[in-house]
């Protein structure tokens, strides 16, 4: 008995997922994932607006200069990933790898900057709702950046399989989409945490 969907055949069990549906499924997942950030953002806003003493004792706000540099790095990495995708669309695999690596480097620099910022702060996770929401939001976002870098590593390795990306690759598209998503979330997060400080 043959099937209209070749991946259903038992001998192809490793490719059992239908590749043409992967991007659809991933977009649906991203929409769902955005709600969790929406929940954290609205919780943050509610706790902040209703707080009597928002800042813990001895803390007078967040330093914004270094996070701003970090933001510029992350936002520009959204540009480099587009360049990587374009290089791949033109069939320039080495161009793709170069821009892809640059994007990964920018992502890693962002994580490094985040770690430096965390280590210099005078408040912790348990310093009231201010500390709690700060570390929750930046930590959860940082986890997504790390996931993005991980996905890019995977796609980079896959690019060395001969002919793998010849027909275009949904994994690259999905990773790029995820990276833009992480980027947009960071912009909202930056506004909420660093710009809205009154």
């Amino acid at each position: 008995m043959t099937s209209a969907y070749p991946s259903d055949a038992p001998e192809q069990l490793h490719g059992a997922e239908h590749p043409k549906h992967n991007l659809t499924g991933f977009i649906i997942f991203l929409c769902s994932e955005s709600v969790i950030f929406l929940a954290f953002f609205s919780g943050y806003a509610l706790l902040k607006t209703s707080a009597l003493n928002w800042l813990p004792a001895g803390v007078d706000g967040l330093e914004w200069r270094m996070p701003l540099i970090n933001s510029i790095v992350l936002v520009s990495s959204s540009g480099t990933i587009v360049l990587a995708e374009r290089a791949m669309a033109r069939g320039n695999l080495w161009g793709f790898r170069a821009f892809w690596l640059l994007t990964m480097a920018l992502g890693l620099y962002f994580l490094y900057g985040q770690a430096v910022e965390w280590s210099g702060l005078k408040f912790g996770f348990t310093s009231g709702t201010f500390g709690g929401t700060f570390y929750l939001l930046t930590g959860f976002h940082g986890l997504h950046v790390a996931t993005g870098v991980g996905l890019m590593t995977l796609m980079l390795i896959k690019s060395f399989i001969p002919g793998n990306y010849a027909g275009g690759e949904q994994g690259v598209q999905a990773t790029s989409l995820f990276w833009h998503f992480v980027d947009v979330i960071w912009i909202i997060l930056f506004v909420l945490l660093y710009v809205w400080q009154v």
Binding site: M1, D8, A16, E17, H21, G25, S32, L47, T126, G132
Partner: protein
């Protein structure tokens, strides 16, 4: 037609596939349903203990702390380990076969989502055996009760509860991504949106709600877990936190969760009434679209669970109106079903009886639902047995009865054998009488002011409580004919033909049970809307040839 209609030459698949990491949606569907009923028995046993305790006013059967753990676990097990898994089982069986797909879009993801269920189920049940016992802050786990950890153990019942609920969320999201992708991308040729069976419409609506709502609960639960184990103060007033914030997160998902449960049951009603009334579904387009109106409205009613929690008056008014508006699309559906039944040739077989009983109970629950939406009434009966009664009419009276209807209706298709009518009717009778006897007395009790979640009460409440407990024991007994029926029919029931109910739908154009890849290469081309009962018009191209081949295969099977 090829082997798709004559699967006799293939070796019979072995039983062991039900205990393995199998990626066939039909196997996963049965795995879900059987496992769900295992947990149903556990949750039911807890319910029997609760009603046994409440048959007398004194707290005499179990310790008060144990009682708190028991009602918490009853709610959690029934929702996260029975209702959601059993519905996901039906989704797995019905969605691919109804739309003519060979399997789900992501078969391996599907299997992973299933196997998470026994993992978090075991975790949840294991919490009975940790120091301090299981979570005992009610199925909603409101702080500040849920962030107390007086014994100071890292592994507490509450911590396990939160982990289990988070894993359940992961599993449900995996399932939802899969179901939505499958419905969007894998429909048979010719099956446009308005040729899709209503069950798929309602499943799509319900799974969209999962995708929108569940992450909010997960986010809220993560913060609760940090408050419990890491000492943060998101919900601790003494640290500047707000316990009501958790209630927002919880109900933003958990109210829509009720629609996640009831929408597929609306789908089941819409599928079954036309079959057993021999008439097309009245107002098919409106029934289909009403599901999405319910999704939209269902997302903006959650504060009605929090009227007494100190929310602003404008919020109370807004959410009261929104909640009442839900009765419009729901009413559209109810009247569409009545229109379908009107002057139909009713066949009162077991699935139809369960549908009629479920519809009756649902209308009753709808009326008390509008009462509860009204702010003054809600504040009066909040946290009383009135709420418990309303909820159980929705969940047991309507949803579980609808699920039983679906099981009796599609059992022949997916098991290949016929369930027994006599046992089925006995099951229906006991369920219908038991449910009403159990849950109706909760309404006068609530109006009299009996609070929920107490193990002892004033003797003036005794009369209704005794009746409710007797009803509950009847419900407990009702499960015996059901299990007897299912097991004996599965083992030695009469062989089912491909279409025992004379139903119209793609799943009835498959042999019983369907082959592993359903239609294989021979996916039918859909040329009409579903439910063409009485019209004599075909649903798919070459319908007559397909049915002839299937009937021939049935005869060959019967003569063997």
């Amino acid at each position: 037609m090829t082997s798709a209609t004559f699967p006799t030459s293939e070796p019979k698949p072995s039983w062991s596939r039900y205990f393995s990491f199998n990626t066939d949606a039909k196997v996963i569907g049965i795995q879900y349903i059987v496992l769900a009923f295992f947990y149903f028995l556990i949750g039911g046993l807890l319910a029997m203990i609760i009603r046994g305790e409440l048959i007398t006013p004194a707290s005499d059967l179990v310790d008060r702390t144990v009682y708190n753990g028991i009602y918490t676990m009853h709610g959690t097990v029934m929702l996260f380990l029975f209702i959601f898994p059993v519905l996901n089982g039906l989704n797995n069986l019905l969605i691919p076969t109804m739309i003519g797909a060979p399997d789900m879009a992501f078969p391996r993801l599907n299997a992973v989502a299933f196997w998470l269920v026994p993992i978090f189920g075991t975790l949840l049940i294991a919490s009975f055996f940790v120091p301090g016992g299981p979570a005992n802050s009610g199925w909603w786990s409101y702080p500040p009760v849920s962030i107390q950890n007086p014994l100071g153990h890292l592994v507490s019942g509450q911590g396990l509860w939160l982990t289990a609920v988070a894993l359940s969320g992961v599993s449900s999201i995996m399932g939802a991504v899969n179901f939505v992708t499958t419905i969007i991308r894998m429909r048979a040729p010719g099956m446009g949106w308005f040729r899709m069976p209503v069950f798929c419409w309602t499943a799509l609506a319900a799974q969209s709600l999962q995708l929108i709502g569940l992450p909010a609960l997960t986010g809220g639960a993560v913060m609760l877990l940090f408050d419990l184990v890491a000492g943060t103060s998101f919900y601790r007033p003494e640290g500047g936190g707000d316990p009501v914030l958790y209630q927002h997160f919880f109900w933003f998902y958990s109210h829509p969760a009720v629609y996640v449960i009831i929408l597929p049951v609306f789908g089941i009603f819409s599928e079954l009434f036309p079959v057993y009334a021999r008439k097309p579904l009245f107002g098919y387009v409106y029934v289909a679209l009403a599901s999405f109106i319910i999704v939209g409205l269902g997302l903006i009613v959650w504060v009605h669970h929090m009227f007494p929690s100190g929310v602003a008056q404008w919020m109370r008014n807004l959410f009261m109106v929104n909640t009442m508006l839900i009765s419009v699309p729901t009413g559209v559906k109810v009247f569409a079903w009545l229109g379908t039944l009107w002057r139909g040739k009713l066949r009162l077989s077991t699935p139809m009886l369960f549908c009629l009983g479920g519809l009756f109970n649902f209308v009753f629950a709808g009326i008390t639902g509008v009462m509860l939406a009204t702010v003054p009434v809600d504040i009066h009966v909040s946290n009383t047995y009135f709420v418990v009664g309303h909820f159980h009419y929705v969940i047991y009276g309507a949803a579980v009865m609808g699920i039983f209807a679906a099981i009796y209706h599609w059992f022949p298709k997916f098991i290949g054998r016929m369930p027994y009518e006599g046992l089925g009717k006995l099951h229906f009778l006991l369920t219908f009488v038991g449910a009403n006897l159990n849950f109706l007395p909760m309404h006068p009790l609530g109006l009299m002011g009996m609070p929920r979640r107490v193990s002892s009460y004033d003797p003036e409440f005794a009369f209704w409580n005794v009746i409710a407990s007797l009803g509950a024991f009847l419900l407990g007994v009702s499960i015996i004919p059901f299990l007897l029926n299912m097991i004996s029919a599965w083992v030695r029931g009469p062989k089912a033909p491909h279409n025992p109910w004379n139903a119209i739908g793609l799943e009835w154009l498959l042999p019983s049970p369907p082959p592993e890849d359903n239609f294989g290469e021979h996916v039918p081309v859909v040329i009409a809307r579903p439910y063409g009962y009485g019209s004599g018009l075909p649903l798919v191209e070459h319908q007559a040839e397909r049915e002839q081949a299937l009937t021939l295969a049935d005869k060959m099977e019967a003569s063997r």
